[in-house]
Symmetry: C2
Subunit: 241 residues, 2 copies
DNA sequence: AGTTAATGTGTTTCTTGTACATATTTAAAA
DNA sequence: TTTTAAATATGTACAAGAAACACATTAACT
């Protein structure tokens, strides 16, 4: 780091400034959603001719005057109108040649969005939800980024109550299990699932029942208030059970 | 990401290039070591007057012509002479004002180095090993970076055989337990520890004994060859037990 | 030869995870 | 109105893993 400072100092007058400070810094958002029993991700059609017909994540350059961790919130705000979404940084990708137009490194974040509850104002026409397990090739290295965020999410939901950001405030245990299964990509035993969830002690029984379902209604639950963990108002990990 | 491309394309001729591409991109290495039963980290005295007397991590700007993930290997090579060290990316820090000389984001890596086995060629005079649990204030946001790498390491060693990068090829179970305790910062039950390690099936009994120890010698073990996971020759996670 | 301090192994208990069965409730069909 | 189908709701038995704990063995040192 000391060496860097020397470089930077020298760079102010020398052309090495351009040499060392011409790396683009971006963030890319893997925006996960859940709708109609499908686990989805929000993608945009790439407008680069190199990636014609392929989809890419939503991203943008980090502005010179914003904290890096603010950038993904801004992207989500600009593209979907959402604020107060759950966001987690996952990994930074910086291979040469990962962007055809120049040297750009990007930091990947995933976010969890309740598609139904929030009314998304999708600002671009080519912005659509895609089922996560049906996505093929993507622009840039975005398929790798998506996979790494999915892996992180799968680990996260096993121990931390973040999955509720994808559900409405009131939900049945069946809805919750469906969502777990969609994210993890496997089927769970209903009885053992309920036991595990009960043990975690994340939920409050609302003493209400589902309505307008074509079968026996299930009980409704909500996440305990002190565990709500949406967007910037994150508690420290240790407080979350 | 599409928006970024427009910016970048325009930037080639406009001054917005300087506006958007004047963020420094660096890596910082949290180089962990183990020696004399102490868990240590390699630090250098900061040469910035803002941080006079404080220590900082070893870092450098990412070069325009190198993959980002190559940068921490280069830093380690240049500063310590080591190659083939274990490295893992942890998190990227990009707050405004985290570097007094200008806008610099940094990606943190931790690495695991066997202090005794490799002969370190410490290139700078003010480069020294410091006991991890005795480190106070640091330069920049390096204390936060160190803590986040330590947290990641603590989780990692519970499930993955990476800790052996800190030990000599041959070691006793007592040495291994001492190291776990030093990293985790707690004491473990010897019998349960040995049972857990046996269950992991990571070790090979060498049928050799410790020598020159002032007590009853313990058996020596080594890590199973196919689990060796040093430096760039990393296997995929799934192969590691 | 006896003492000391470490190594090495085993048992019990509790918790957690997994496999699996049956009764209950409601909507829909007969 | 009765029957049927399909989902909810709950419980039990077994296996695996974690935690608490005790004793015998070995080698260096006195």
């Amino acid at each position: 780091m000391d060496k860097m400072v020397q470089l930077k100092t020298a760079a102010v007058e020398k052309s090495s400034h351009l040499e060392y400070f011409n790396i683009g810094v971006s963030v890319d958002c893997v925006i996960f959603g859940y709708d109609e029993k499908k686990f989805k991700v929000l993608l945009i059609k790439s407008d680069l001719k190199e990636f014609e017909g392929l989809h890419s994540l939503l991203g943008d350059l980090v502005r010179p005057d914003e904290n890096m961790e603010d950038a993904p919130y801004r992207v989500l705000q600009e593209r979907t109108g959402l604020h107060d979404v759950y966001l987690e940084q996952v990994q930074t990708f910086g291979n040469l040649g990962r962007h055809p137009s120049g040297r750009v490194i990007t930091t990947a974040y995933y976010s969890l969005v309740n598609i139904k509850s929030h009314k998304l104002q999708l600002t671009a026409n080519d912005l659509h939800w895609h089922q996560v397990n049906k996505i093929g090739q993507m622009a840039f290295d975005h398929k790798v980024i998506l996979e790494s965020c999915l892996m992180r999410l799968r680990e996260k939901i096993l121990e931390h109550p973040v999955i509720f950001n994808l559900l409405p405030d009131k939900f049945s245990l069946r809805e919750l299990q469906d969502l777990y299964e969609a994210i993890l990509g496997l089927e769970l035993d209903r009885r053992n699932f309920r036991k595990r969830i009960t043990l975690k002690n994340w939920l409050v029984d609302l003493n209400e029942m589902e309505e307008d379902v074509p079968h026996r209604p299930g009980k409704l639950y909500k996440l305990k208030t002190q565990l709500k963990n949406t967007g910037r108002t994150q508690k420290k990990e240790k407080l979350i059970v």
